[in-house]
Symmetry: C2
Subunit: 328 residues, 2 copies
């Protein structure tokens, strides 16, 4: 795919890509070779409501265009990666746990009408999958799964070099597979979802639970006794400094991460699984125990073949993926 | 795909297809329109060892050819669907729980050398998926999952109208996804696999467990007190006659079946899930509660879209699928 792009689309105009997340909006102008020509960040402030967020997208686009001194007609297209369930065909953000009030918002058409440029809208994890496939860790790898492990677990599936989005565009809700049928109910309505056990939220919750039960940890001091302020990031820092509770919590989470990875390896026999999102910053501390679970429990042929690697594009995964989607 | 076959391959020679299972061998001559021209069954008697089974395949092929009064040169190809892990590239049966002693048997080349005809070898559940897609319940459906629910749970994935077999040809081991991370260890090495909770084996085990604990059921009489002789088929019969223990066991299994279906619906957002194998003969008794779980727990867009239907090809699924694989 990347080859096709390089060979036949060399002189295409750039894409203006937007990554709309619950915390921040990233807007960037991206060449068809995956180069970020210009980029800017805004806080989403999602609680202000739908229209104020849309206005922030408008100003990000306007500002980027004026920075580069170009009009929207000098864009190939605009492409938005958004955190939430997307109706691909109709270009709607159907719902989003991180964007309160967003229900069936026709964001694609709103942007397209405002700027008079072909506009695309996809899910952010799907975008990041495509981004890593075209420009990152998965370059040249035709069958891969991308996971973003942060507050929750999102996913994107690349099959035969293309994003697989399912019959309604909602494939890839990998974080919502049951791995504990006797587990608690997830916000999504399902039971014992992977993301309840293997996400950043799970790390923080488990550390808080154990400390509240009276266990000792340097985390207590780190948050000045405000146990509820413990985050996955803080647990990770404590673990780096050798805190044994933090290390145990991460090992447990990594094992659960491995359980879900085994499922993906047995189902997809993928060449690669790429792990992005905040939790991936833990690196081998998280990935090695998860890889070990895959080695021990998955079908041997598939377990030996799969490479489980960290994402390479970091915060740019969403915009690069949105751009790749537009260029395809 | 089916259209391509009908339009451009109208005058192709037939395929001799073989379905090699743990219990029986089905051999059939199949036209490129999916018509079974001739068919015969043999008992596998797998315990006799590898060579005797291969000899049985030889005699099945020889007999079918002589029945039709043709030589192997009048075949398009020979295609084998086998119960077990397949090395697609090298044409090996890597291992098989139902074919004792079969380790890295180069069955494809053995047949190809014997008959001098291009020969194919694929996994039987993958074959059945392709068969249902080309000639059965999934005709015209481009994104579907096929499941065979019998002693275990096998699967096949059709994406964009083609069999998805993964990077080593071992994708589709759907029965071996963990749905109970605290569950017992499966023979495959994984823990709490779907097939341990939702297969025919699970039905029989659960009925036996409950009756041994002293619960009453007409099953006890049905097996003349030999509780260990209870099978899923017998539980199904007892349920049809209103036996409440049998009905409860099937409901529980159907619920677990639904749990795994939710995972597939959330991951793949497929148009259709086709359920074959012995357990599918229970029909709506099994499928309705499973459908209900999907409706309640899966992402709404995907849950509303997916059709969960019984397989149509029955015992011929394997040979028809093997033939479809060859014609592709």
């Amino acid at each position: 795919m990347i080859f096709r792009m390089q060979e036949t689309k060399k002189h295409r105009l750039p894409v203006l890509a937007i990554d709309l997340g619950g915390t921040k909006i990233i807007a960037a102008i991206i060449s068809n070779e995956g180069q970020v020509i210009a980029r800017e960040y805004h806080l989403t402030l999602a609680d202000e409501g739908v229209q104020p967020v849309i206005n922030k997208i408008f100003s990000a686009v306007d500002h980027l265009l004026s920075l580069r001194n170009i009009g929207s007609s000098q864009l190939d297209s605009i492409s938005i990666a958004a955190a939430g369930a997307i109706n691909l065909e109709e270009g709607l953000i159907t719902s989003s746990p991180n964007l309160p009030g967003w229900h069936d918002v026709p964001l694609r058409d709103i942007i397209e009408e405002k700027y008079g440029v072909k506009t695309f809208l996809i899910n952010d994890a799907n975008a990041a999958a495509l981004g890593e496939h075209c420009f990152g860790a998965g370059k040249g790898v035709n069958n891969l799964i991308y996971l973003t492990v942060s507050t929750g677990i999102g996913g994107g599936i690349i099959i035969n070099g293309e994003l697989y989005s399912g019959s309604q565009g909602s494939a890839g809700e990998i974080g919502h597979m049951t791995i504990d049928t006797n587990g608690p109910r997830c916000n999504c309505g399902n039971i014992g979802c992977w993301e309840m056990l293997a996400s950043g939220t799970a790390v923080a919750k488990e550390a808080i639970r154990r400390i509240r039960q009276g266990e000792e940890s340097s985390l207590t001091e780190m948050v000045e006794g405000k146990i509820e302020n413990i985050t996955a990031e803080k647990v990770s820092k404590a673990a780096e400094r050798g805190d044994s509770l933090a290390l145990e919590v991460i090992l447990k989470t990594a094992t659960y991460l491995g359980v879900g990875l085994v499922n993906l390896v047995n189902i997809f026999n993928p060449e690669m699984i790429i792990i992005g999102g905040g939790m991936s910053k833990m690196g081998d501390l998280l990935l090695n125990p998860a890889r070990q679970v895959v080695k021990e429990r998955a079908f041997q042929i598939s377990a030996q073949a799969v490479r489980i690697v960290p994402a390479q594009l970091g915060d740019d995964g969403g915009v690069l993926g949105a751009a790749a989607f537009a260029f395809q």
